[in-house]
């Protein structure tokens, strides 16, 4: 090979890949509106994006897996946690995590209520981008339990039998619990004493019975199944005590599951949770 040939190789191959790259870029632009729900890119979402940039969030967190790796990925956080929880968290993160225990916490950002709402709108928009299904399983901020293994710290196994492939309502309900969406396990463990963003659901049926007898109970349910259903569909009907679960009498649990789950899914999920005794 002569030098002229080598130079020709460099120039021609570079030109070819640049043309191919430019072509794919043009085609991507054709598809961006649909893939990123551009019709939902409201002024509030854009304002939230500015909050994200102004507070340098990306140099601790990742979004769509991009950023720094010091704090959790937030791609799906708005869908996992719901806006009530995120609002309370953004007002004062130190109420939710103990730095002595987890070794790193988010410094308080002093955001206004408007900025917090904008930011949550932005994160909600991000969570709905069509990104080839990443992450393949939800990334949890905190969760001492390992979903799927069901047993933590050698304690007794939950009384659920049957695989998700079985047609038993309980097994189908367990599959719903472990599926994404709704990703119940992102906030609720089924291990005793393991409280994540939401309370542990271990012994749920037993505790529900007690709650129903308690005069402090304000909901409309008459039996355990009714109580569980009510808690999923209308989380504000009865607030479980605990400063990390609610603020201003509003539960942090998203109220959208009644809409998002099909009636069969809801039945199965109730059957499964009712089996946790």
């Amino acid at each position: 090979m002569t030098r002229q040939q080598a130079r020709l190789f460099a120039i021609v191959s570079t030109a070819l890949v640049v043309v191919a790259f430019a072509g794919m870029t043009v085609d991507s632009h054709r598809r961006f509106p649909e893939l990123t729900n551009e019709s939902k890119l409201t002024p509030q979402v854009i304002a939230g994006k500015n909050v994200w940039h102004e507070n340098n969030c990306t140099n601790c967190h990742t979004l769509l897996g991009e950023g720094a790796y010091y704090a959790p990925d937030l791609t799906k956080i708005a869908l996992q946690r719901g806006s009530e929880y995120l609002k309370a968290f953004m007002r004062d993160p130190s109420k939710f995590y103990d730095e002595q225990k987890v070794r790193r916490v988010m410094p308080k950002q002093n955001l206004s209520e408007q900025e917090i709402s904008d930011l949550i709108a932005f994160l909600d928009w991000i969570g709905r981008i069509d990104n080839q299904g990443w992450p393949p399983r939800p990334i949890l901020v905190s969760g001492a339990a390992i979903p799927g293994t069901d047993i933590v710290r050698g304690e007794r196994a939950p009384q659920v039998t049957g695989a998700a492939t079985s047609n038993e309502p309980i097994a189908l309900g367990q599959a719903v619990f472990n599926a994404t969406p709704p990703g119940c396990y992102a906030c609720h463990s089924i291990s005793p004493g393991v409280n994540l963003a939401g309370p542990s659901l271990a012994d749920l049926a037993t505790r529900a019975e007690q709650t129903l007898k308690d005069p402090a109970y304000r909901g409309k349910a008459r039996d355990v199944a009714g109580y569980i259903r009510e808690a999923i569909v209308d989380p504000n009907a009865h607030i479980v005590p605990g400063p990390a679960y609610s603020a201003d009498n509003r539960s942090f649990m998203p109220g959208s599951f009644g809409k998002d789950l099909s009636p069969e899914q809801l039945d199965h999920l109730v059957a499964y949770l009712e089996s946790l005794k």
């Binding site: 191959s13 794919m24 994006k49 340098n56 990742t62 720094a68 010091y70 069509d130 080839q132 399983r137």
Partner: protein, 456 residues
């Protein structure tokens, strides 16, 4: 040095060394925060340390590239620089830009866009400085009428680096599209045109150090540039995984970025065969260490460690974990930090009569401590990242619990980082410990170079 105006390079290198030292200090502080709790959380939070650490890297490496170019171009074109004054004005403007940007970051004055945090006024100054620099270099070449392939590739790389910075100036409302174009700057810099710069500096050093035949070296330099672009341009696709782009970027990213190591293998073979065939004709064996080291460490850090997580099926699990930090540290260090230190080590004896031509023993300590430290840091990030991927991404343990379980790797990181800092400190100390003297040697008569083509 042969030309009086090459003294400019020394001051660029001096600035680069100062910023390098700061970069390592902030890096260590950021690493310590992984152990937590962080007593400085409200004064110097992690995000600020991270911005300062990465921005200092980009600024000092670019300063090194510019210094290296101001050294190489007079020698290749056999002339004094077009304007020494312009070079110093440019350096002054650059330093003011860099220092005010860093100070601003402590007050959250930045764009909050990863690696492109510079506020708009600073971005504009960066473009102005780049234009001044390219003007000075092009006028130098034009005046001399001598234009070699090595400097052609070098200037092509620098010119395209300036052009590719422009997308960073455009704001986008759509975060996915903003991310898409952010990589035009970042990826096409570090896996495209910066590799042209590295390749040409490698060629320059190899020709000087080994006495390898220029005709052969420059021919293969073209081949390397071709290979870099074939894989690197479309390889941008590996940054387009999972960010809201059409699906075809996944297989295309997998295939083309799997090709990226080919160019880097080529670069390593290039260095090795030059030394093997031509032997060493230059006494500066320290510069040989850095030159060969850069070629080999690039293959390891950018090539192999990049390949380790570039396939979409793997990246689905590793995306956004410390695996990326593993690759990032080794790649940037091998390709860019080491090539700048190679050029500095090569030129340093020319700036002082007191220095040994072979390089001081201290210089060898600096080399090996840095190498050991960076290798240890890479392994720490790798082991931490593998643990993180398995516990958090595969098993589904929470992020915070996972980070607690991999604390031992952060201790390793800090230990290896300290060794690296020692090596970096020695390199910087060795740089500054002699007062520079700038005496141009009488140009010795040598066989005229074959210009690649007539200058513009």
């Amino acid at each position: 040095m042969k030309y009086r105006s090459q003294a400019v390079a020394y001051w660029y290198f001096a600035v680069a060394m100062g910023l390098f030292g700061l970069q390592i200090a902030f890096g260590l502080l950021a690493a310590a925060k992984y152990l937590g709790p962080d007593p400085l959380i409200n004064v110097l939070p992690f995000d600020v340390m991270k911005v300062v650490h990465t921005n200092l890297l980009v600024v000092w490496v670019l300063t090194g590239f510019m210094g290296g170019t101001y050294w190489i171009v007079p020698e290749e074109s056999r002339t004094e620089l077009y304007s020494v004054k312009l070079a110093y004005v440019q350096l002054g403007l650059w330093v003011v830009m860099g220092v005010t940007a860093i100070i601003g970051y402590f007050f959250r004055w930045g764009t909050g866009t990863k690696l492109l945090e510079q506020p708009l006024p600073h971005k504009i100054v960066i473009v102005v400085v780049m234009l001044m620099f390219l003007y000075n270099i092009l006028m130098t070449i034009r005046r001399s009428g001598r234009f070699t392939t090595t400097e052609g590739v070098l200037i092509g790389g620098l010119g395209m680096a300036a052009v590719l910075y422009l997308p960073a100036l455009i704001p986008f409302d759509n975060y996915a599209i903003a991310t898409f174009y952010r990589w035009w700057t970042i990826h096409l810099w570090v896996e495209g045109v910066w590799e042209m710069i590295q390749g040409s500096m490698l060629a320059y050093l190899l020709i000087r150090l080994t006495g390898a035949d220029r005709e052969v070296m420059e021919k293969w330099l073209y081949v390397i540039v071709g290979l870099v672009f074939i894989a690197g341009v479309i390889g941008t696709a590996h940054h387009y995984y999972w960010i809201g782009v059409p699906h075809y970027w996944l297989p295309i990213g997998g295939i083309f970025s799997a090709l990226e190591p080919v160019a880097l293998v080529g670069m390593a073979i290039y260095a090795y065969s030059a030394m093997r065939r031509s032997g060493l004709q230059h006494p500066n064996t320290l510069a040989v260490h850095w030159t060969a080291g850069s070629a080999v460490f690039t293959l390891f850090g950018a090539g192999l460690l990049g390949l380790a997580h570039t396939w979409p099926g793997i990246n689905k699990w590793t995306h956004g974990t410390l695996i990326t930090a593993m690759h990032g540290h080794a790649a940037f260090y091998g390709a860019y930090a080491m090539i700048v230190m190679a050029v500095i080590s090569y030129t340093l004896p020319s700036f002082s009569g007191h220095r040994s031509e072979r390089g001081e023993p201290l210089g060898y300590w600096a080399f090996w401590l840095q190498l050991a430290g960076m290798f240890g840091m890479t392994l720490s990030f790798a082991t931490a990242g593998i643990g993180q991927v398995y516990l958090e991404r595969v098993l589904g343990l929470g992020f915070l619990e996972t980070q607690l379980k991999i604390q031992v790797h952060f201790l390793m990181l800090l230990a290896a980082g300290t060794i690296f800092a020692l090596g970096a400190g020695l390199f910087i100390w060795n740089f500054f410990r002699y007062r520079p003297t700038f005496e141009a040697l009488a140009a010795e008569p040598t066989a005229p170079l074959q210009p690649a083509r007539a200058a513009v």
